[in-house]
Structure formats: structure tokens, C-alpha cells
Amino acid sequence: MNLLQQLMEKPWLTEDNTVVELRDGRTFALSREKLGLRVFLVVVMVVFSLMMAAYIERKVFSDWHSVPLPWLLWLNTVILVFSSLAMHRAWISARRTEIDGVRVWLYAGGFFALVFLIGQLLAWWELVASGYYAAVDPANAFFFMLTALHGVHLIGGLVAWWRTMAKVTRGCGVVLVRISVELCTVYWHFLLLIWLALFALMLFT
């Protein structure tokens, strides 16, 4: 369907002869859940974009002191990539209706996500231990806030992951969990992209 074409219709013209041909309501060829998730991702993207814009706006002033990023963040990034890849494998298995594959790869994806979160906490701890408190400098505050916000979104994803996992272990058929697995995977990839953007932003100072 073509949005522009739909907006160019003239519903009143055929009105002259009072009978109008029948057409269906023409929706986007997407399921409700997928469209809902996409709209949500747009909203989340706006939130992160605004925070990054605020970060950049602040960074241009000369009194900006960057945070020395802990090396652990590199490792965490790799782990998050693993997590995303595992979710992707789960999705592929779901499409091939291999429920065992779904289970294994879902576990892997959730596990790596948890490891990532713990890794982030360790990175925080390292910063705090060397005196980079949030209240000391705006750069520190931005670091904590951006990572925290990303973490919170991942935790939200883990809740969805948990519910999908519950369905799988309850023995729901692969057809029933397919859509949940797909939504989780899309969300995971999205959060990976957000993280890469955040990390790059904080790296190139």
C-alpha cells in the first residue's frame, strides 16, 4: 500500500451518484504487534536522540572534561553483540519451527544480556572507585545517565524475554512463540544499535 496514494483520494467525487465502489480499509501489511513495536521504537529513539543532543550541546563548551571510559566497556560491547546474535539465531530457529533451537538460543541471548548488565555495573563501580561521581562533573553525570537509561531499556527487554521463555518452557508450540521471539529480536538489535551510538558518542570526544 502506498500512503501518499491513499492521501490523494477524493472520497467526495463519486458522491455525485451516491454509490461508491467498495474497497477494503487498506491497512499496512504488518501485524498489530509489529507495528506497535515499531511505533514504540520510534519513541525510544526520540528519547535517546534528545539525550545525545543534550550531551553534544554541553560538550562543545571549553570546560568539558571527558570521562576516561573503562576498558571493560569494550568487552561489554562484544557481549552485547553476542546477545543480539543469539537472539537472531533463536528467531531463525523459530522460523524453521525448531523449538529446541529456539529454547537454546533464547537462553543464550538472555544470558549474554545479563552478563552485559553486570559488566556495566562493574564499569560503574570502577569509575566510582576512582572518584568519578555523578555529582562532580556534568560529563560523569551524562555517562551514568546514558548507560543507566540504556540498561533500564534492556531490563524491560528481559521482562519480555522472560515471558517468551515461560511460553517456551510451558510447551507452547513454536508457531505461538514465533511472534514473541521476533519482537524480542528486533528490540535486541535496536538496543544494540543504540548502545553502539552511545558508545561511539562517548568515545569520540
Binding site: T18, V19, L22, T27, L50, R58, A134, A141
Partner: protein, 602 residues
């Protein structure tokens, strides 16, 4: 043509998205309290919004008592006054108007008008209401914490918002920010529903260009809200950290009472940008549903198709898009680069073009229409007049050189009350009088409604025209008392006293309105399914008020747009959207045989 009627079934392609399964409540609690039915959620939203709105109304009386008769009411201290203006503004804009238009009217009208059984994610929709209620309760709680609610002004500008000296800096400001964050989370849940329902759950035949303009207005406002509220969310989160954790996102190095505070390095202007990046779209989040609803009201009650439907849709879309690039017209006096001011003045004035198109189209719809001066029509006309008024003062303020002396005066207060206070509230009233029969099966009392309209309409002008004048004189906004101010004549005080008296009268008229609602709900005249002889789907439901699932066993099929009014040779002067062409034909053949809308729905 005749062929099309005969093999009608072949002609209707199957829906692209399968019909969804409806959730059926199993107990009283899930039916009326934790309900997933959009109609019940709509009523919950509306009652909560109106209840908190009444609090804001009372606060406005207190403010006016102080302004009209300073030194008379010893119980209103300066701190109280600041708290009143802040809570009044925030409640009216966000917790009343936004919640009522989107959570209230949106929930009630979207499924009914697009021909769906319910919202697409009913469970999330239910959560949306309960989170909104939590936000309202947190907001109310701030009245009861030490120090009281915040008095920072509804714009909550840092650094003053979180520094000692501003009322409510102890706890009120944090509760306000938390409440806003909750509101936004709850709204996002509802907003996902409104958008996806309009896009994916329209019944067969309901193309985008057959949607009633009400739906277009609510849809576009929701899109704006989904994109604009994140800015407020980000601002609220960052300010909460500043206030609780001592970070310095918005706080510059600052000393108070000769003492250097722990803050340093933040940017207060950053908050202003975030706030107005939300704040300006917010005014259209309130205005666009009003635009849409008023278009339908005048079309139905003037028995005429809306003039320039497609242009109306485009104007809504363009206004929505433009509203994201004008925000800094609220910051002309913040010391920004003059070229910025030039840019934002230009974009601001450009918005006037699609807005003016809408006004022309409303007037042209009324022109030669068969105007029925029903109560909803009165309010619709009241809206158009008032909106034009406020729009014109907006053009004044949009020019930097005019704005600089007028900024932060009563003139700004008059501008935004005309355009965003009085005008949308007129639509809220008109819409309630219009859809009340669908929601309850009864009509509202007309003489009481007319009285309510005239007092409100004339009263609004008696209140806000003087405020424009006071603004020209230089009376600043947000001042507790003027004391001796040389450049303001003594007589300004008489004007202020007059305004306060009118405010109390208009306030009393609103009580009559609430009384009218209560009495009509029980004793009002039975309205039948379609008292206004309207075409859109919500009037064609088999039951009034609509039952669970809205439309009996099968969903309606839509054959035309929603504006088939004033047809010269139809037996009735309107054709419902879902009346099949073959039925229409037989009508023509034996003219005289009239079909009622209720029959058509079956």
C-alpha cells in the same frame, strides 16, 4: 454501477489484517474497574481528568481573588500564589486537556468511528489509565508534603525550580517531575493504541480519506505527543537527578545568600530548549483534536459536507509537522542569537497559513449551510471566533520586536488562554453535548446548555480582553502583587477586580454544567440511537450506549465518507457511512420510504 452492487461480495477484498479476538470480562471488577474496554477506559479517563481539572479551577479562583483584591485575603501568601499558578497551569494543560482529548475522547471515539471492536492492545490500554491515575495521585500528594507543591511556574525553569527559596523545592518539585514522567509513560501506552488502531483496525471500506476529521485530529495529535513528550521526559529525568543526586545537567555555578552551592557547569538554557521542544507541540496536541472535533460538529449541525476535506487533512498534517520547528519563539528573551530569532519568527508565521486555511474552510462550511443552533453548534462557533482571536495575538507575539516588550506580561497570558484555554474547552463542551446521547442514551437539557454557553462565552471575553489591555500597559505575569508601580495607572486595579468577579460568575456556570450532566444522565429525554442524524459509524451501532464489541455480530462495511449531508434528493438529508448502495437505490426507487439509521445498522 449496477454490477458493482450485484456481486458486492467479490468486490470487497478480504481484510489484510485478521479481525482480532475480543477480550471478555469475567467479573464485575474486570468489567467496570480493571476494564479493558476502551469505552469504560474513556469514561475513567474523563472523570479523572475533570476531577483534577476542578482542582485547577478552584486554584484559578484563588489566584484571581489575590489579583482582584490584594491585601484582602490574608490566607493567600506569596508562596501560595506561586504554587497556585504552577499547579493550575500544569494541571489544565496536561492532566486535564491532554488526558481528556486523547485518553477520553480518543478512547471513546477511535474504535467506534473507525469501525473496530476495541483498541488493538486492550491490556496496555488499561495499564495506560492506571498509570495516569497514579500520576494524578502523585501530583495531588505534592500538596501534602512539607513545603507543599512546587511554585516554579508551569515551565519549571531551572535553576530556580530546584533552589531553596522557590516554594516546593523540598519535595514538591520532585513529585511534580515524577508525576510528569509517569504521565508520559502512561500516555505512551495509550498512544501506541491510538496510532495502531487507526492504522490497522479500520473496518473494511474505511480508507484513510474516509475517516472523520475527528479521528484525523486525534491521530495526528497522538503522533505529535509520542514524539514531543520524550523531550519533557528527558528534561524531567535530568532535573530529578539535579535535584536528588546533586548532578549539574541544568545547574550553573551559583551562589545563594553569599554561599557557593555545590552545583556547577550545567546549562539552564538546555532545559528551556527541551521544555519548549515539547511545549510548543503540546499546544497543538490540544488544538488538533479540537480542530477535528469542531469540523465534525459544524458539518453535522449545519447539515453540510465539510468544505475542502482533503485540504483539512493536509492542514492537520502540515501543522503537526511545522509545530516541531517553532519552539524557540518562546525563548526570544533568553538571549539567543538574533539569526535564530529570525528563523523561528519565520517558521512561526508560516504556521499561520495552514491554520488560516482551516478557519476559512470552517466558515465556508457554515456558509449556505442549514445552520441548526443546537448547543454543540453554539460551542463550535464560539471556538472558531475565539481561536481566530487568539491566533491573531499569536502573530503579534511571533515577531521578535513585538514580543520582547510583551513577553512575560499579561498579554501572553491572554494569548494562550484564548487559543489554548478557552477555545479547546469550548470544543470539549460542544463535544460533550454532542456525544452525551451516544454515551448515555439521553439528551442534555437544552435551556441549561444555552445558558451555560452564553455565560461561558461572554464571560471568557470579559475576562481575557482586559488582560490583553493590562499586558499592553505592562502588567507582568506571575506577580503576586503590584504594590507601587509608577507606570501602571490606578484604574488597572479596578479592571482586575472586575475580571475577578466575572471569573467567579463563569465558574458558577460550570457548576450548572456539571449539574446538567448529572440530571440528564438520570432524567434526560431519551435520545434514540442517532438524535443528530449523523453519518459516522458511532451513531449506527445496534445498541445505544454501544455494547461490548461495539457493532453486533458483524462489523459495518463503509461505502462513503462521513460527510454525506444535505443531499437534495435523498429522503433523509444524510446517508450513513455504512448504508449499502443497494439499500440506497431501493430508497430512490420508492422515494417516500425512509430508512432509519437504526435499521441501516442491521
Amino acid at each position: 454501477m449496477v454490477d458493482a452492487v450485484q456481486d458486492q461480495d467479490d468486490f470487497v477484498p478480504p481484510a489484510e489484517v485478521a479481525e482480532m479476538e475480543l477480550y471478555h470480562p469475567k467479573s464485575w471488577l474486570t468489567k467496570y474497574v480493571f476494564s479493558q474496554d476502551a469505552k469504560v477506559i474513556a469514561i475513567q479517563y474523563s472523570f479523572t481528568a475533570i476531577a483534577i481539572g476542578l482542582v485547577a479551577l478552584v486554584l484559578s479562583w484563588m489566584m484571581r481573588l489575590q489579583l482582584g483584591f490584594p491585601e484582602t485575603f490574608s490566607f493567600i501568601e506569596a508562596e501560595d500564589y506561586y504554587q497556585f499558578i504552577t499547579m493550575h497551569g500544569m494541571i489544565m494543560v496536561i492532566y486535564l486537556l491532554t488526558a481528556l482529548f486523547l485518553g477520553g475522547f480518543g478512547n471513546y471515539l477511535i474504535p467506534l468511528m473507525v469501525g473496530a471492536r476495541d483498541m488493538v492492545f486492550p491490556y496496555v490500554n488499561m495499564l495506560s489509565y492506571w498509570i495516569y491515575l497514579a500520576a494524578v495521585l502523585v501530583l495531588l500528594a505534592s500538596f501534602f508534603v512539607p513545603g507543599g507543591p512546587t511554585g516554579a511556574g508551569w515551565t519549571l525553569y531551572p535553576p530556580q525550580a530546584i533552589l531553596p527559596g522557590t516554594p516546593g523545592s523540598e519535595g514538591g518539585i520532585v513529585l511534580m517531575l515524577v508525576s510528569l514522567a509517569l504521565f508520559i509513560v502512561g500516555f505512551t501506552m495509550g498512544g501506541l493504541n491510538y496510532v495502531v488502531t487507526v492504522l490497522q483496525a479500520r473496518t473494511r471500506g474505511m480508507t484513510l480519506m474516509r475517516l472523520p476529521l475527528t479521528i484525523w485530529g486525534i491521530f495526528m495529535a497522538t503522533v505529535l505527543a509520542l514524539l514531543a513528550f520524550p523531550a519533557l521526559f528527558v528534561g524531567a529525568v535530568m532535573m530529578t537527578f539535579d535535584s536528588l543526586l546533586g548532578t549539574s545537567f541544568f545547574m550553573p555555578a551559583i551562589s545563594q545568600f553569599g554561599e557557593q552551592l555545590k552545583y556547577g557547569g550545567g546549562s539552564p538554557i538546555l532545559f528551556q530548549h527541551l521544555f519548549w521542544f515539547f511545549g510548543h507541540p503540546e499546544v497543538y496536541i490540544v488544538a488538533l483534536p479540537a480542530f477535528g472535533i469542531v469540523s465534525d460538529l459544524i458539518s453535522v449541525h449545519a447539515r453540510r459536507h465539510i468544505f475542502g476535506y482533503r485540504l483539512m487533512v493536509w492542514a492537520i498534517v502540515i501543522i503537526g509537522a511545522l509545530s516541531f520547528i517553532v519552539w524557540a519563539h518562546h525563548m526570544y528573551v533568553s538571549g539567543m542569537n538574533p539569526y535564530f530569532g529570525f528563523f523561528f519568527a519565520t517558521t512561526t508565521l508560516i504556521i499561520a497559513i495552514p491554520t488560516a486555511i482551516k478557519v476559512y474552510n470552517w466558515v465556508l462550511t457554515l456558509w449556505r449551510g442549514n445552520i441548526q443552533l443546537t448547543v454543540p453548534m453554539l460551542f463550535a462557533i464560539g471556538f472558531i471566533v475565539t481561536f481566530v482571536n487568539g491566533g491573531i495575538t499569536g502573530l503579534f507575539l511571533g515577531n521578535v520586536v513585538v514580543d520582547v516588550p510583551l513577553s512575560d506580561t499579561m498579554f501572553v497570558v491572554a494569548h494562550f488562554h484564548m487559543v489554548m484555554g478557552v477555545a479547546p474547552i469550548m470544543v470539549v463542551f460542544g463535544a460533550i453535548y454532542h456525544w452525551f446521547p451516544k454515551m448515555t442514551g439521553r439528551l442534555m437539557n437544552v435551556p441549561m446548555g444555552q445558558f451555560h454557553f452564553w455565560v461561558t462565552f461572554v464571560g471568557a471575553y470579559a475576562i481575557f480582553l482586559p488582560l490583553h489591555y493590562l499586558g499592553f500597559l505592562g502588567v507582568p505575569r506571575r506577580y503576586y502583587a503590584m504594590l507601587d508601580t509608577g507606570f501602571i495607572p490606578e484604574s488597572a486595579q479596578d479592571l482586575n477586580a472586575f475580571v475577578t468577579v466575572v471569573v467567579l460568575i463563569v465558574g458558577a456556570a460550570q457548576m450548572l454544567f456539571l449539574y446538567n450532566i448529572a440530571v440528564s444522565m438520570i432524567k434526560g429525554k431519551k435520545s434514540g440511537p442517532n438524535p443528530w442524524r449523523a453519518t459516522s459509524l458511532e451513531w449506527q451501532t445496534p445498541q445505544t450506549p454501544p455494547g461490548h464489541g461495539n457493532f453486533g455480530p458483524t462489523l459495518p462495511v463503509v461505502y462513503r465518507w462521513a460527510y454525506a449531508y444535505g443531499l437534495p434528493d435523498a429522503t433523509e438529508d444524510y446517508v450513513p457511512q455504512n448504508l449499502a448502495p443497494d439499500q440506497l437505490m431501493s430508497d430512490y426507487d420508492n422515494s417516500g420510504l425512509s430508512h432509519s439509521a437504526a435499521q441501516a445498522a442491521e
